[in-house]
Symmetry: C2
Subunit: 290 residues, 2 copies
């Protein structure tokens, strides 16, 4: 891989018309991860007439760019609202780093939206830089999408990612919502393993990737944060712990709308049920209303 | 496997709440196929108060009960309309019949909704009997669903299946629609291979599984047949041939609404875009309006 402009161009993997717009999957050589990265991009029909606003979606453990794209049913509402959907993969792939396939919660499919500092992960596992800066810039450079200000949402590990990316980049990510997010990466087994593996044992470096700690230290001045959490979600007590985020928002006066959804689990059936509300909310209060 | 009532009971594989209803996957020991069969069943919230009407969906080559269930987004509209969705698998599985894994268009995932008469397929590959009678009866016996009269729809091989099942059983399947159906199994390579393999070389036995031939010989007295066909579908000329069905319906005066969808391909993105119209149509004109 070299750095000239041709190698950095998007390579189309697929496209398929839906809801009057076009669902693409592209691959490009990402500088952040020094690897080919795939992302899904839905362009609503309004993109034929000029730049459209966008929402970025960050997916959970084991997912690729495909899960949200085929399971959430978001394109129907995106077409109505005139919003593009930018959906990155959850890690670099095909690197053959020793250990990157050993577990579902570390390595491939489990980038946790951090910039790794520990060898051998630090050269490629830089998903925080990739999703917060490189990918939005790349999309704006090659497609009719306005990424100067964005909405962002995500699910589980991706809900953590959406919260962290927005809280640390409020100038660009101006509205944020999440489904069943990991709200404190430092206070759950998934996060402890990921942070130790990608960043090392010095916990002082972990706070930048902990949504609850970020709320406590810097707050949030954007529109209310929306979280949907199913009551039948098997991970809610051990990994997700929404009560930690509620307490932090209460303590510093950040407006949070926490919706507990009776009987809903952790699946994309749950996401599909409520994604319409999130899209409409981003369109009304967030970036995509400009 | 034996025939007592316990072995014939549904075994729940999964359930997940969505859109206020419940998405189930069940398995049962099917008499038609002498094998365990899985099917997806979506029950809308209205099913908590009594029996609800239903639409059956038949899927295409290589699919299981999962594809439509996770990709089409039909449950949202089904909840609004109070319709159950019955989604069978596309063949028996795990039988280890020699040759059942050799191709994507024959054997597992490719039952073509026929009752095989040729050995070794005739003992198990009896998907016509399974979807047209056994499964509707089984659902009515175990769940709050009225299957005395049903709507039916399907995609590709499943579009063929939906047309054939309805045309041959108009007393039970009272409304029918299809996405990119194979309209004449006798007049395309997929169908020729399947019919030869499952039924043998005597073409006189094939007509019962050819939607175009069935229209010519027996017509259709139900509400108009709806077909959606994408213009960017790579199979339209070689396998699907919608013009044969249009000509047959014209010749015998069967009302057909053939919708050519500009730029749409053969994928579930296409199905997801137009499934809402089909569901509303079945609810308005078909079985599920009673």
């Amino acid at each position: 891989m070299n750095g000239d402009s041709e190698s950095r161009a998007p390579r189309r993997v697929s496209r398929s018309r839906m809801f009057g717009g076009m669902q693409y999957v592209h691959e490009h050589d990402a500088a952040s991860t020094q690897s080919p990265m795939r992302f899904a991009l839905y362009l609503p029909p309004q993109a034929e007439a000029g730049r459209v606003p966008a929402m970025m979606w960050l997916s959970g453990l084991t997912c690729t760019e495909e899960n949200f794209t085929v399971k959430a049913g978001a394109q129907r509402v995106a077409s109505e609202l005139g919003i593009a959907l930018i959906v990155p993969d959850t890690s670099p792939r095909r690197l053959e780093i020793p250990g990157d396939h050993d577990a579902a919660d570390f390595g491939e499919g489990a980038g946790f939206y951090v910039d790794a500092t520990r060898s051998p992960w630090s050269a490629n596992y830089r998903m925080y830089s990739y999703v917060s800066a490189e990918l939005p810039d790349f999309v704006a450079a090659h497609f009719p999408v306005d990424t100067a200000s964005l909405g962002i949402a995500g699910h589980s590990m991706g809900g953590h990612g959406a919260l962290v990316v927005a809280l640390r980049n409020p100038g660009r990510f101006v509205s944020v919502s999440a489904f069943a997010p990991i709200v404190s990466l430092m206070q759950c087994p998934w996060g402890d393993k990921a942070l130790r593996g990608y960043l090392g044992d010095d916990r002082s470096t972990w706070r930048d990737y902990d949504a609850t700690a970020l709320i406590e230290s810097a707050g949030w001045r954007g529109p209310p944060i929306i979280i949907d959490q199913g009551t039948a979600d098997p991970f809610v007590r051990t990994q997700l712990k929404p009560e930690l985020f509620v307490a932090a928002c209460d303590a510093v006066g950040v407006p949070l709308e926490m919706r507990r959804r009776e009987g809903y689990d952790h699946s994309y059936h749950f996401v599909a049920t409520f994604i319409e509300e999130h899209l409409r909310w981003h369109a009304r209060y967030g970036s995509v209303s400009r």
